[in-house]
């Protein structure tokens, strides 16, 4: 009961965040005249279709133009272009929520559609694949290495890790990606420099999959490389902090085997604060993914961002901004659930 309450509160707060972001986006678009432009584009596109359809039936050019003018005025009224932007806020929020943002100016989906929804949604799986794969690899390495280092504080490898972790704070993912391309792709030619498949893509399911993995290797390596240091450090520090807590001494006093002390009294107790740190690190990894996709020409949402900026495609940018926020908030909620499950104290004291 209390658990559901706590989680409900978190969910509510995160929905609030989403709403604030939506409002920020829509108000900015409205106040700067961007929404006018986007709606005008939608109207124009509909008019193109209408003109074609009407041209079949109305042969008199003057009457055709007249009808089209009327139709256009109707549409403009429908979309609220005849009214000030703030009266359209709710409608605009709805549009962003459903990604109903009309057609992209230049960008097309893989099969040629220019609908923003099509373009954006088909990229989502590629982004998720990249981020989750690298996250899992990072987590495994970070937990293993961090636990190992926690048992040998002050040794050279421990100090080295601290420095590397600090260094990874200063190493942007995109720059690391560029370095990897320069060395592993341009110089040594071990990995492809970008893209999803070789061209032409190999036939056969397994070969195709292998080819995909081969292309994903560098971006994943990049993402792992830039975050694994920080993970290791966080895990190590949290374990050390926990190890200093008195109940650990008390567990040792009871003569419990060292392995059990580590597992049950250190690792398990440190899990919630580690989860917290990971929640906090999530913002950074989203940013890292956007830029890494750009560097490796990986056809996910991040690369799409880059292309949309290059071609000044505002509708796509709005859709992506919203989608990224949505994904982030979802991921965050999943972690919050994990945190609450891990820590009985939170479960019972609602705060």
């Amino acid at each position: 009961m209390a658990l559901a309450y706590t989680l409900g509160l978190r969910a509510l707060s995160l929905v609030g965040v989403l709403f604030v972001v939506l409002l920020l986006v829509v108000v900015t678009l409205g106040a700067t005249g961007f929404s006018d432009r986007m709606l005008t584009a939608i109207v124009s596109e509909e008019m193109r279709g209408t003109r074609q359809a009407l041209a079949e039936t109305i042969k008199d050019p003057e009457r055709l133009e007249e009808t089209l003018r009327e139709r256009r005025a109707e549409l403009e009224e429908f979309y609220g272009l005849d009214r000030p932007w703030y009266t359209r806020l709710p409608a605009m929020v709805g549009r962003v929520l459903t990604l109903d943002l009309g057609a992209a100016r230049n960008l097309r989906s893989f099969d040629g559609s220019s609908r923003v929804t099509d373009i954006v949604l088909e990229r989502v799986p590629y982004s998720i694949m990249l981020v989750t794969t690298s996250l899992v690899i990072t987590a495994v390495i970070g937990l293993w290495l961090g636990a190992k280092l926690a048992t040998r504080v002050g040794t050279r490898s421990d100090r080295l890790t601290s420095y590397l972790a600090a260094a990874s704070n200063a190493l942007p993912a995109w720059w690391a990606g560029i370095l990897l391309i320069l060395v592993l792709s341009f110089q040594l030619r071990i990995f492809p420099s970008g893209g999803l498949y070789s061209s032409p893509p190999p036939e056969g399911g397994l070969l195709r999959f292998m080819d995909l993995m081969w292309h994903a290797a560098l971006p994943i390596l990049t993402l792992v490389l830039v975050s694994v240091g920080a993970w290791t450090y966080v895990v190590r520090t949290m374990l050390l902090n926990t190890a200093q807590e008195f109940h650990v001494t008390a567990a040792r006093a009871r003569g419990l085997p060292e392995g059990q002390v580590m597992r049950r009294h250190i690792l398990r107790v440190a899990a919630p604060p580690i989860a917290t740190n990971i929640i906090l690190a999530l913002t950074g990894s989203i940013g890292g993914a956007i830029l890494t996709e750009t560097v490796f020409n990986w056809p996910g949402m991040g690369r799409l961002y880059f292309d949309a900026i290059t071609t000044a495609d505002e509708a796509v940018i709005v859709a992506l901004t919203f989608l990224f926020t949505l994904m982030y908030i979802t991921a965050r909620f999943v972690l919050e659930v994990l945190y609450v499950v891990l820590d009985p104290r939170v479960r019972y004291t609602a705060q």
Binding site: L14, T28, W175, I178, I181, L182, I286, F306, T325
Partner: protein
Amino acid sequence: MRPGEALRVVLRSGSGRLGMGLLAVLVLVSVLVPFFYPLDFGLRFWNNPIAWADNPKAAPPAWTNLLGDTAPRHRVFDAEQPTGTIDAGSARIRQFAFTFSHQTVEPPTFLSVSIGAVTFHERPPILSMTLTRPDGRSATLLQEAVRGLRPDETSPVTRFADEPRRVYLTGDAAALGAAADFLLREFDLRTSGTELQGRLEEVLFSMPTGEGVDSLAPLNGEYTATIRVITYDPRDSVQSVRFVAAGGVYGLMGTDTQGRDLATGLLFGFPVALLIGVLTSVAATILGTFFGILSGFSGGRTDTIIQRVSDVMTNIPLLPILIFLIFVLGQKLWLVMTILVIFGWPGLTIILRSMVLQVRSGQLVEATQALGASRWRIMFRHVFFQMAPFIVAQMIFFTPAAILAEAGLSFLGLGDPSLPTWGQILEQGFRTGAIFIGYWWWILPPGILIVITAMTFVLLALAMEPVLNPRLRERAA
């Protein structure tokens, strides 16, 4: 802990010393750069192609020649006074002779001639340029008259005052024709200007070894470029003359595909990066500290509001919002910094609030309040000082985040064009495909500088740790 003591603790660690050293270099360069750069450097120079026309394009740094490469040096000759003057009746011939030694296999990457402000009264002056080779042969690559008086003009007239008359010989049809003539005259090789397109320097700086223009041997030795300006009135004048035999390498850091001197851009990046980092983190820290202490101390509605706002703000993924806002509102550096500040303070506020709550539940606050101290005195004389080291550490820690955020944004092509940054240089390199062609000098240095700058602050933050956590300092009983 007193500031002096804190500094000593920081300097005791290796990372602290390294960080301080790097910081000193950063600050020194950043302070010096504004003395030597105009403030509108970005618009007037960096993003103005004309300013870089006479530089070689995509040339690696000059010092790569030491590694065994044999690219010609970049040569620029400027003169305001002629090296010789010949009077021939009413005409006066100003000669500007520039001699240079050519010792590499590769010819210059291009040749250009520029003439600045020419003033004349009656007849328009005539400009010419002749290249004399070590074998004594010479070719006149340029011969043209300055445009005469138009009906609406009155004498004297000054031409090329705003912008010099620049002839890019490498792509100049007349020069190519002249080169073809030269080959026919001297070596009996029959070609045409169009055939020589893009090969002007190659044929001028070599000896034919067989039939045709495809078998050439480099001709090393002294070359002289002579630029002549013939005027017809004693009052006529020419302000300056420039000849460029462009090299294959350039300067300390090489050039990009527009011929921009990367060293210049990278140097300018120092104060900009420091400005972004320091200003943003200072502002965010001040806001965060103020709201954090206020929130923790005042409680009630103020606290709730600040808490809610911070919670929402820290839950918003920064980069997508930053991209969106900069895209919509315009690529302005101050805007980037403002957004970073707006999204940067809540993190600190949340941490400080919980620290304040801890301090507040301690008896210092109670005791001071009982003395009759005002809330502000308690908050900023007592509570603030307790947290000052932590706040400073947070500020240092936030600095690279701001620098990296701006770099990432620039890398996506949303940099402020009026202020070149390292991120923008990298972005232009990336967009031009520099990594796939191997223009490493364009890609590596800006990235390394970003990393080093960020690293400086990370190292300092690392060295601050013992200041914050006395347990690390002294492992006594």
